[in-house]
Symmetry: C2
Subunit: 319 residues, 2 copies
Amino acid sequence: MAVYTEVSDEAVAEFVSEYDLGGIVAFRGIAEGVENSNYSLKTTHGDYILTLYERRVAPEDLPWFLGLMEHLAEHAIPAPRPVPGRDGESLRRLAGRYAAITTFLPGVWPRRVRQLHCAPLGEALARLHLAGAGYAPERANALGPEAWPRLLSASTPGGDAVRVGLIGELEKALGRILAGWPGRLPRGHIHADLFPDNVFFLEGKISGLIDFYFAATDLYAYDVAVCLNAWCFEPDFSCNVTKARALLGAYEAVRPLSAAERAALPVLCQGAAMRFLLTRLYDWLNTPDGALVTRKDPIEYLRRLNFHLEARDEHAYGI
Amino acid sequence: MAVYTEVSDEAVAEFVSEYDLGGIVAFRGIAEGVENSNYSLKTTHGDYILTLYERRVAPEDLPWFLGLMEHLAEHAIPAPRPVPGRDGESLRRLAGRYAAITTFLPGVWPRRVRQLHCAPLGEALARLHLAGAGYAPERANALGPEAWPRLLSASTPGGDAVRVGLIGELEKALGRILAGWPGRLPRGHIHADLFPDNVFFLEGKISGLIDFYFAATDLYAYDVAVCLNAWCFEPDFSCNVTKARALLGAYEAVRPLSAAERAALPVLCQGAAMRFLLTRLYDWLNTPDGALVTRKDPIEYLRRLNFHLEARDEHAYGI
């Protein structure tokens, strides 16, 4: 669920009056999203999304995120476009939070990933990577490999209560991942969290890519690895090679992977599984009872990690 | 939060294809509502709400609720109107649940109740009572006074851990309430849960009354008492007599209360406070850790109950 901050009707009316968006017709909390509070805002001009940035998003990063979204939208990527107020400013304050209005994107995110979703996703990811290249400012990936040892240490007390031997298993895997991590692959702006609930489809085509608040400047092929983890595993945690092949083939039709990127896919996939495993484990151990957030099971990513640790080369992913 | 049941994109597309609503443009979970799963559904024809009925709603009651909403919408009450499929049926099945599409109502619910909301609310409640009179079928109030002793017993183990002496205090109050409960006041269909999050305002006027899934056939003045509890107390739990007077005055301009109804206001308000106190207490004690539902503090209603127990007559509410 994703309404952490309630906004009074007076406050939202005053906020919207600073835009050329007409009058408010409706204002409803959206159940989706995890990090921020999201509202569906309908005005006499149309549909918009109002996001209030919660404490997990660093305020100093917000201009970078909004700038990237603006840049991508200008370059034919279906990303939410920040809507400026009459003063030209799209990053504003509301109810004690930073807040922004963005355009509404149509479509439905796939609750159950099917093979037919994977090629459009791969193509959209490659187009996102190419389009992002013109956006000059960089942002270090705060949840990249440098962060993983610290995240693992933070979960060491309590981690073995989630699963016996878990921390030792992760320490060993993390050592192997960091030792094999590729330093010199092509890099640029990546989404870094392109899970199915961040991708809208309409009539078989991608109509929206949302939630750029983990985006960063990092290895393109790591973003591919995040998507392989998020889109190509079945409910029993087996890797669906047909889906992986569809995703990778469509990606490569737009942006071919280098031989080094292909060869690095297993370790990149291990790293991507590790990243989501570690943040889920941390949240699992640190979410207070009764909190509004749904805790996600970290062990799902241990299952994926173990698949990737056994992958001998990129052929494990159908290519 | 209110998405308990996730619906696959294929399932929702198939479901919507049974209606004359055009193609799906968007489908998003709504954060509001507590009992059921609610989705905002945009089609090429417009905006709708798709509700999946969860286990707390008795399936046999659904035709009554939908029939009442239809009747009210036909009689100029801004209630959601059930939308039938091409076969004429509005109550259908989706993702293993009963489900219905209703019309979208514009407006914003007041996160902070101000005096200016209370007269429109009182007037709308009276109009709802009058309009409902033409709907013949009845539904007993499953959370009416007959249910309270059972609800209190269900919370007796554990109740004193919420607050020392709570159960004894409630037993004494409940005895007094039931002894003084008025049996012969005017009755009809009541909303029974008309809290601020169920009432949309647009430019100072009421544009929507939603969530009829606690509606029942019971005392009209009890519905007034529910609203006094829900709309006329300040964050410090003091009763705002100006708000109460505005609510009651506007109600009476449409449907005057009889002398007996006025005289019964204190005990009806005690009963309404008891009803929400008891269901919140039960949920407080029985919501598993990590559940998606936000538990609401039962003690807020103990504070209201104590106000009503001290009310000597209807003048306590500003009339």
